[in-house]
């Protein structure tokens, strides 16, 4: 981390008896933000008139290929996420920098997924005309909500031990489903092209 991990950015009460009561806002705020993000993305995708086209990157045959490779990159780092998470929790032997690996692979996966989502929402929108597309739209919106929730939960202290693994596993499972319904479908339909 390039920032001081101990820097106080919010006026949370210091660890003490207060936290044993498990203040509801700790869960409520991430849950509300997650819902807002997911519903907001879906509403935008539904309301916005799909442009049908957007930027492309030189060297790729189509935006579909660009997105599929970006999504595959994100999925690869998501796999790193799972392994490094096991290391952080001591379930797998890992190097001392396993937590840093976990943080940075997650950031890369997220930042690589953002352009894909932007293109989806801008050019294609929230669509329901077949089940693959429906699930992809639904889970795509859900993913960014769940990811936001996990990021916000990370800031809380003394969470129940099972919570982060559950949310993290959920985020990974959803990303996998998104990848299966888009990039894998693309590669199977159009071939593994660039």
């Amino acid at each position: 981390m390039t920032v001081d991990p101990n820097a106080a950015t919010q006026g949370f009460p210091s660890p003490g008896p207060v936290h044993r009561r498990s203040h509801p806002a700790r869960y409520l705020v991430p849950a509300l933000v997650a819902a807002a993000v997911a519903v907001g993305l879906g509403a935008y995708g539904k309301a916005h008139d799909p442009a049908g086209t957007a930027f492309n990157i030189a060297g790729f045959s189509s935006t579909g290929a660009v997105k599929s490779w970006l999504a595959t990159t994100a999925f690869f780092f998501a796999l790193v996420q799972v392994v490094s998470a096991f290391m952080v929790y001591g379930r797998l032997p890992g190097p001392r920098w396993a937590p840093a690996l976990h943080r940075w692979s997650g950031r890369i996966a997220f930042l690589v997924a953002v352009p894909v989502a932007v293109h989806c929402l801008y050019a294609l929108g929230y669509q329901t005309y077949e089940s693959r597309v429906l699930w992809h739209s639904l889970l795509g919106c859900f993913f960014f909500g769940a990811f936001s929730a996990k990021m916000l939960l990370l800031r809380s202290e003394r969470l129940p031990g099972w919570l982060l693994p559950i949310i993290g596993g959920l985020v990974f499972a959803v990303l996998t489903a998104i990848w299966l319904t888009s990039a894998l479908w693309f590669f199977r339909t159009f071939g593994v092209t660039t």
Partner: protein, 232 residues
């Protein structure tokens, strides 16, 4: 494990948000122009079903591109236009769209034979455009008023003459997914209003329904989609 109140996760979210907003604004300002490097689906403007399903909604997307793009500073600016005509044997139609020394052409017989070709226009007005399955178009721009040349497709050679076309004559394309089938239609609107078009459903070609040349609206399998003017 004990967790610190760390700003890292927030910064991550913020970075993602900024990246998303940045890309979105980039799209909103340049998104209507199709990226020039797209090769597989050149100037096809994908029409997503659903949000543009209604006939009233697709109507405003009027094909205004060909004439507006002619303000190019290129030395061949005068030649930037659409050219449309028929083959010498009158079996098929050919349309070529020129912009800034690049060309895209469409050959189709209105039934099951079609080819999209693209390539560069040389300084002397000649062009060699290539398409899938070895299709090739050799043409020469004559006085900036017509293109004369040949198309080699499926073992045949077709001579053609394509005159400069004025809107709504020209070259149109629509891609969409309708009822699960991938639709890719190409239309040549000839001077005089005749249309020749082929519509691919999941790669199976057939005669295309008529488009409204003013708006590009066309009904495919019960759904209205919009065909857009094609530019390289």
């Amino acid at each position: 494990m004990t967790r610190m109140k760390r700003p890292g996760p927030l910064l991550t979210l913020l970075a993602g948000l900024l990246l998303g907003v940045f890309l979105l604004s980039l799209n909103a300002t340049t998104g209507t122009r199709n990226a020039s490097s797209a090769q597989e689906e050149p100037p096809a403007t994908a029409v997503s079903p659903g949000a543009t399903a209604g006939p009233t909604e697709s109507a405003p997307a009027s094909p205004a591109a060909p004439s507006t793009a002619s303000a190019s500073p290129s030395r061949s600016a005068a030649a930037d236009a659409d050219y449309a005509g028929r083959t010498d044997d009158d079996s098929s139609a050919v349309a070529v769209s020129l912009r800034d020394d690049r060309a895209i052409a469409y050959f189709c017989d209105g039934r099951d034979k079609e080819s999209w070709l693209k390539g560069d226009v040389e300084d002397d007005g000649t062009m060699k455009l290539t398409g899938k399955n070895g299709a090739e178009l050799d043409g020469t721009l004559q006085d900036g008023r017509r293109i004369r040349g040949t198309v080699d497709l499926g073992g045949h050679r077709y001579g053609f003459t394509a005159d400069k076309a004025v809107k709504p004559s020209g070259l149109y394309r629509a891609t969409a997914t309708v009822r699960g089938a991938k639709i890719d239609g190409g239309w040549i609107v000839l001077p005089g209003g005749r249309q020749v078009g082929v519509l691919d459903r999941d790669g199976r070609p057939s005669t295309a329904p008529r488009i409204d040349p003013e708006t590009g609206a066309v009904t495919v399998d019960g759904r209205t989609i919009t065909a857009k003017p094609v530019t390289p």
